[in-house]
């Protein structure tokens, strides 16, 4: 029987065990696993994802939501939707998950240096963006204006609310949040997230936009950036999602036109996906 060390040198199809430090409830159906690598640090680039394995149940692709500068901690923010995610949500501290990865293309944080950074998240889409926000904050002087815009359904659905408010208090980021509906207890904005864009200052000719959320949210946001705010599609980046089984480009499931989302994405420049997003069932 192979030992733990042997497991390390196997290959991209075999998961490595990570110990659960805690399971943190974020929203009514969303939780974050705080995971400890058992073989040294875990290194990744903001925007990458892992295949998270619930022993004997299955795997799901989950974007990494931790700080890339802290390799001793892997955070995975997960929405309960099926057998695997429910199983992951039932774990306790001290138990194990399997992790394969990191996989996929990262947010273009280097490309964005020297210009404005416009980060727009919707719903749980803030989770894959959080590592990029951390990176930009750690390297703040490499970027000009830094803007974080977040939209979600109601005030009860705000992900990472404490951090959003901390960022809002900082003078070196402009942070705006909005919800679709609220009652008088909410003192923030109400309206679709695209309405926030017109309220912040950025130079559309020198901005990199990183947009993350459900496909329709990314599409309407990108269209708004293109049609109303004068940005170019090569400066807008989105993260796509499709059914994934292997994460390494050999199972065929995540194909999106000519792209494998797991190896050519999940982060794509809008130029690569614009036409595909407008073709039904591609």
């Amino acid at each position: 029987m192979a030992t733990q060390t042997d497991a390390l040198i196997i290959d991209k199809m075999t998961p490595l065990p990570f110990r659960v430090r805690s399971v943190q409830e974020e929203l009514s159906h969303t939780f974050t696993l705080d995971l400890e690598p058992t073989n040294g640090g875990f290194r990744f680039l903001p925007g990458q994802f892992t295949m998270v394995y619930a022993f004997g149940i299955g795997e799901v692709p989950i974007s990494i939501s931790s700080d890339a500068a802290e390799p001793g901690t892997l955070l995975q923010t997960i929405r309960r939707t099926g057998a695997v995610t429910y199983a992951l949500g039932r774990l306790h501290a001290g138990e194990f998950v399997g992790i394969r990865g990191p996989f996929g293309t990262p947010w273009p944080l280097e490309r964005a240096e020297g210009g404005d950074l416009l980060i727009i998240g919707g719903g749980i889409g803030l989770a894959p963006l959080r590592p990029a926000i951390y990176h930009a904050l750690h390297n703040r002087d490499r970027y000009e204006n830094m803007i974080v815009l977040y939209g979600t359904r109601t005030p009860d659905d705000i992900l990472f609310e404490r951090e959003l408010r901390e960022w809002a208090d900082r003078s070196d980021i402009t942070t705006l949040m909005t919800v679709d509906a609220a009652d008088r207890g909410w003192h923030g904005s109400v309206g679709v997230v695209t309405r926030l864009i017109g309220r912040v200052g950025f130079d559309p000719t020198r901005t990199t936009a990183m947009v993350c959320g459900p496909e329709i949210m990314m599409r309407v946001t990108a269209e708004r950036l293109l049609e109303v705010h004068g940005m170019k599609p090569e400066d807008i980046f989105v993260t796509m999602e499709r059914n994934m089984k292997c994460g390494i480009g050999i199972c065929g499931h995540c194909q999106f036109g000519p792209n494998f989302i797991c190896t050519d994405g999940a982060v794509f420049p809008y130029t690569d996906v614009d036409a595909l997003l407008h073709t039904k069932g591609v």
Binding site: T81, G123, R153, D180, A181, S189, V190, P214, V220
Partner: protein, 155 residues
């Protein structure tokens, strides 16, 4: 605030971008500047819509009273945006209430005077109507997106 000061303020408003001086002057003549603290009602739902408002600085919540003392915020409007167009058409009744979220300063235009100006000066009327029509179109699109499950909450 004097009429000249209001005119200067209007010249810098994105909502009125490109409006000719003559029309801006006509607007300034029926305008006053008002300031509201946070959490103050500008107008109530079903109130008489006797004015148009342009937010110079601040945030205003548009709300519906859905039950006794329970208000649902439908949208917030912010710096540079117009607040309400129920003054354009009879029965001139606000379909939403407006409550400030932050300290807010507005320019208030007398609705009756605006309507009279629109009727007598067609060029002015057409320009103003176009601007409001654009805002209505944009707000309708935005409202439709609010109706869609944009953030994937349906399971």
């Amino acid at each position: 605030m004097t009429e000249e000061t209001i005119l200067e303020l209007l010249k810098n408003q994105p909502f009125l971008d490109g409006m000719v001086d003559e029309h801006l002057q006509q607007l300034a003549a029926c305008a006053t500047h008002q300031e509201f603290p946070a959490n103050e009602v500008i107008f109530k739902e079903k109130g008489f819509a006797d004015a148009a408002y342009l937010i110079v600085e601040g945030s205003v919540a548009l709300e519906l009273e859905i039950a006794a003392a329970r208000h649902h915020i439908v949208q917030t409007v912010h710096t540079g945006e117009v607040l309400g167009w129920s003054w354009l058409f009879p029965p001139y009744q606000w379909s939403f209430g407006a409550l400030t979220l932050d300290p807010t300063s507005v320019i208030r235009f007398e609705a009756a005077k605006l309507r009279e100006l629109q009727d007598t000066d067609c060029a002015f009327g057409y320009d103003l109507m176009k601007r409001f029509a654009y805002v209505m179109m944009a707000r309708l699109s935005a409202a439709r997106l609010q109706l869609v499950d944009l953030y994937g909450h349906a399971n």
